[in-house]
Symmetry: C2
Subunit: 208 residues, 2 copies
Amino acid sequence: MLDLALLGLLEEGPQHGYELRKRLRTQFGLLANVSFGSIYPALSRLETNGSVETVEGGSPVSLAPPTGSLSGEWAAMRARRRAGTRGRRSKKVYRITTAGREFFLTLLSDSTADDARSFSLRLAFARHMPPEARLALLERRRAQLVQHLTEVVTADDPELDVYARSVAEHTAEGVEQDIAWVDRLISAERANADASAVPNRRRTRRSA
Amino acid sequence: MLDLALLGLLEEGPQHGYELRKRLRTQFGLLANVSFGSIYPALSRLETNGSVETVEGGSPVSLAPPTGSLSGEWAAMRARRRAGTRGRRSKKVYRITTAGREFFLTLLSDSTADDARSFSLRLAFARHMPPEARLALLERRRAQLVQHLTEVVTADDPELDVYARSVAEHTAEGVEQDIAWVDRLISAERANADASAVPNRRRTRRSA
DNA sequence: CGTCGCTATATCGATTCGATATAGTTGTCC
DNA sequence: GGACAACTATATCGAATCGATATAGCGACG
């Protein structure tokens, strides 16, 4: 789970632990409110298995190509202010390796274990997937949500008091809205696939 | 977290591990999709610290063979089974103790650490709280949700591709709906408090 | 007969959490 | 100017939790 998230973020450029956590919190919100006690061991794991490598230097982000995204901009600002001297505590900047990219794609396409958290995570990285995998992910998730609706206690259960009933109702509504969301995404995927399959009339100005 | 859930369920009567897990799944759905690897250690914990006790229930068969020779003892066990000892594997039925009820109320009113999971859990057990504690729980949760909205990445972030943006949007919508839900609950609590404060008249007595 | 599916408890290694320690940088208030 | 809070940054520890797996009993199906 965390490996996938970290590798996905590192796909956008080298970063260090503290920054990775910030981006996990802001980009994935409640879904990935992860503590340092998870991040640093996870980075060590990924380093020992060769998925990432550390980049030396106090302000090493200048080495990264301009694909550096928001965090790169941040670090660049700070580096400029410090004028190249190594500032702050020595940062351990991690960069994803070729083996790491392969591992990332493996994790991404691993169809087992997709709860709410890892589904949203995978979907956020869906641009790295082939279109069939995207559709498969969405439809697997949809099936799970529908399944969940049938298993969950209904709000007309006479055993529940007001509070438990409210929780049950709210949860069920959330699941229904998730299904509607996934349905919209599935439609968009299919429309996109159709557009790609029949590009004769529409624009395809990407090549040239 | 799990202690709270288990004690709360055991407030409604003695149950065994497998059943507790089923009820966690059906009543709290995705919020408490908990594995046996958590439940049984948690029950042991609660038993050693005196919050629960095992009650002899159902049909204790006591079939355990003392040796390791599986195949040999199997026929003997089967014979015993046919001889009239019925019932499944011996259930360990747990019952909450007086100390357990106190511990439950302590956990319930402990204001630290209320993420989405433990908030919903606490709310589902809100009937065991005094009204002030209910209001405090709801308002704490509301503040957290609002706070979360400000910290999260906005959907107009140019860095995000379609998929990441969709996840961000959907998450933000979910948080907004959670806020609306909590607001409804807060209003209901206040109305209830007013009604309790003036029990003589059930009308909307304004300017008596 | 086998074996599949359900109930039921238990354990194991790995992962994750939550708290805490440490330390450098920055701002700011008196 | 210097005390002090706040933020950045990495690391570690014990405990909680997960996910997989093992064991075991029972009913039903063909």
